[in-house]
Amino acid sequence: MSVGVFNLDIKGNKWDLDREKCIKCGACVAVCPFTALELPEFPEVNEKCIFCNICAMACPVDAIKVVKTNKSAVVDKSTKDISTLSKM
């Protein structure tokens, strides 16, 4: 298992969990295409994250904020699936 954290910042791309809002439901973990999340209790993110925002979309309580400013900082593993999703 990769080691997870509640906040990730890779060269300006950010993944942040608001633990006050989170209800520990696991929706984010289930939809992450890159197994970048684990749910020991609160969801924890790891370096596999590509900041695609899909977990934030599925979160029922808006507890995850994803900011992707630096496209070159992460290996872009986007699939067609994801590009269509982020337009939703």
Binding site: C25, A30, A56, C59, P60, D62, M88
Partner: protein
Amino acid sequence: MDEFDVIIVGAGPAGASCARQIMEKNPSLSVMMFDRREELGVPVRCGEGLEQAAEDYTGPIPKRAICKYIKGARVYAPDGRFLEADMTKMAGGRGGYVLDRKVFDKWLAFEAVKKGATVQCDTLITDLIVENGWIRGVRGINMGKEIVARAKVVVCSTGAESRLGMQSGLKTFCKAQLVDTCVEYEMTGSLADEEFIHLMLGSDIAPRGYAWIFPKGDGIANVGVGVIPSPDPMKTALIYQEKFLKKYAQFFDGKRNIMEIKGGIVPVGDLMKDMVTNGFLVCGEAAHHVNPIHGGGIKEAIVSGQLAGDVVAGALGKNDFSKQGLSSFNPLWWEVRGNHLRNVEKLREVFEKFSDKDLNDLVDALTPEDLIDFSRGQKLGTLAKILLRKPSLMFLAKKLL
């Protein structure tokens, strides 16, 4: 290191039903169920509604697991008018229950244990042991200690939340556009008729999904919404839930006594085609075995788990637990449940295209029996005929014919 004939990961309705079925077929087998939860059934991530017909598979559900007996469902169009489907007045004459899943899930697991299966909670399975294209066991953490266990067959019944199944190479992953994201309160002060469950449609309160009130008796109810995931923070399930409580304020006493907040996702399609590989089988919600219209997954999990149990016991009997040996699960599940659920998915795809006005009009065009038929994936032609009468919806009829 421990060795078993079968390891079942996840002791929810699917896993427990699978374990029980295996033991019924062959009591000499050793079956171990692992579950990450410290208490089976807790936390509840469910509206707890179950049709009585599920007892055909489980046997009589004990009274202590049932909060409320239900006659049927009222389905509300966006304009507030509703269709009432009283199932006790229809063929079969059986209604449903709102359960207490904290009790129900433990009872199902206990039924398997009584037959000889073993259960170990507080055991998070982190990895499948994969060797030369075979799944040979699992690694995990039991009460803080690392464990390794091997088995001839590993059954994955981890529900939608888990990513474990992906390690097998099977397509267990839930695509975000094919799940609904949900929030639910267990609250007091519900004034809705307690003989029915209430399902509310409308783009203002539940885009693609629906909002619900499932009465548990004494004014207690599970009240929630399931909606399509959206990148807009103003379109979260929680925000729609609050809109729903406002729009249907007449159904609540206004005191907002919330005793439990639950969330989660429900797969609403993408039924898996191939659910087995060498030494491995996935069933229940982990294989997206959920009704794609109403999101009911308890009965689907039970049926799927039971069918899986038959196949696993059979494969062990023949001493062939390769992909080939387990492969009869695919056509079996598709024949018994998959083809129906695929029809339900087609209906969902059609309903998704409806405007609120179309949904309002539909209430005039349908009978309560139609509703029940649709939720079972039957009589798609009835809906197609209605669509053909409306020029704006004609193009959708094709999907159903």
